[in-house]
């Protein structure tokens, strides 16, 4: 397999999280199919990648805390809670839609 192979993803942010990502709700990305160690990339890898490469805002702690997506953010893979899909270990597939939702509390 070509080591430079990439997979297309749609990553979306809502509930205010988009404000951390250049005020853009929908991001069309091409990510490497394999990580540095040659393993297929996972959602956990994607979170790290978004934090390091895509997020311009410096307040990383509003997205990732202690190496995990911060409490109060739901991660949905193809519109299903990532806990139904194996959480961070889920292996990304071409054209997956990954949605990050910050829970709202206002009323």
């Amino acid at each position: 397999m070509d080591t430079h192979e990439t997979i297309p993803l749609i990553v979306e942010f809502t509930g205010g999280l988009e404000m951390l990502f250049s005020d853009q709700r929908k991001h069309t990305l091409q990510v490497p199919a394999k990580d540095d160690k040659g393993n297929a990339v996972t959602v956990g890898w994607l979170v790290h990648h978004l934090c390091e490469e895509v997020m311009k805002d410096t307040r990383k702690e509003l997205f990732v805390l202690d190496g995990h997506v911060r409490p109060g953010i739901l991660v949905l893979i193809n519109d299903a809670d990532w806990e139904l899909e194996g959480e961070a270990s889920y292996v990304l597939q071409p054209r997956d839609n990954v949605l990050f939702v910050s829970t709202l509390h206002g009323g």
Binding site: T14, M19, G72, I73, L74, D81, T103, G106, G107
Partner: protein
């Protein structure tokens, strides 16, 4: 049970006629509405429109919980209150409006905030709860009391141009029963860091956006009532097929090209602090102050963007 020939007043047939001819409602649905007792916690941007449509639909009893008074900054979205009511209790202001809309409902004001101490007494006699509040600490408290008292919970929230809606604890089976609907803690086991929590006061809100969410809470309320889903009877003859009941969340983003999105959430979390097998919750513990919700959620003083 003895069925009266005319179970509604003549005026009620006229008032609810348009709704009773909807096939999924019918006279049976209208009678279920009339027998039901609904509690709305929070008489603000969500609670006002939810209350108007739930009262309009003809529930038997509608309780409103809110300790706040009407402020001028509420009026762009809290449409039951009027300029003349600024400074009065929100529950009284709302109920005076609701009485003029539909006098056939029994309205119960609870002019205080929900606390671990008063929660059991306030919630106990209702069939269904709407969380129309605006802080994480109240959302955890309301979810916990709904698990303890086995009430379905319709929870909504809104901020800026976005809204979210989840139906929790539906069916409202006892803690430890995996067939019950998940609770707020199943979905959000840890509260968000206080500095990531933004209120409508700090982040802003479009009135009609929170209005949409409140009216959608009323739609879900009417559905649960007419579908007979208020109680999950533990029928000893029922064959439990191991079926679980995941929740779903409706997301609304007014400025998105796809404004609504429905996402599938999880079922009950086996190890959930509230609804799991080894639940740490009890009515006594709650009342005695074992759970400090404000401490659990952190004191949100200043606020960042989210």
């Amino acid at each position: 049970p003895v069925t009266k020939k005319w179970p509604l007043l003549p005026e009620e047939y006229k008032r609810y006629g348009r709704q009773m001819i909807v096939p999924s409602i019918g006279i049976q649905g209208q009678l279920k509405l009339k027998e039901s007792k609904v509690l709305i916690i929070g008489a603000g941007g969500l609670g006002c429109p939810a209350a108007a449509y739930i009262a309009g639909a003809g529930v038997g009893t509608l309780g409103l919980v809110d300790g706040d008074e009407v402020e001028i900054s509420n009026l762009h979205r809290q449409i039951l209150h009027t300029s003349a009511k600024v400074g009065t209790k929100k529950v009284d202001s709302a109920i005076s409006f609701l009485k003029s809309l539909n006098p056939h409902v029994n309205y119960v004001p609870h002019p205080s905030h929900l606390t671990p101490q008063n929660a059991e007494e306030i919630v106990l006699n209702y069939d269904l709860v709407l969380d129309c509040t605006d802080t994480p600490s109240s959302r955890y408290l309301i979810s916990d009391i709904c698990i303890l008292l086995q009430k379905p919970l319709i929870s909504a929230s809104a901020l800026r141009t976005d809204g979210q809606l989840i139906v929790l604890n539906s069916p409202p089976l006892p803690a430890g029963d995996p067939a019950g609907g998940p609770c707020y803690r199943c979905v959000f086991p840890k509260p968000p860091p206080a500095e990531s929590v933004v209120s409508c006061g700090d982040g802003g809100i479009i009135g009609a956006v929170v209005g949409v969410m409140g009216v959608l809470q009323a739609v879900e309320t009417i559905k649960l009532i007419v579908q007979g889903k208020l109680k999950a009877f533990a029928d000893p003859n029922e064959v439990r097929d191991g079926k679980t009941n995941p929740a779903s969340m409706l997301l609304f983003s007014a400025n998105s090209s796809q404004p609504f999105r429905n996402v599938r959430l999880r079922t009950r979390r086996a190890g959930c602090f509230a609804c799991g097998k080894d639940s740490g919750l009890s009515l006594e513990g709650l009342k005695s102050g074992n759970l400090d919700y404000v401490l659990f959620c952190g004191l949100a003083s200043s606020v960042d963007v989210l």
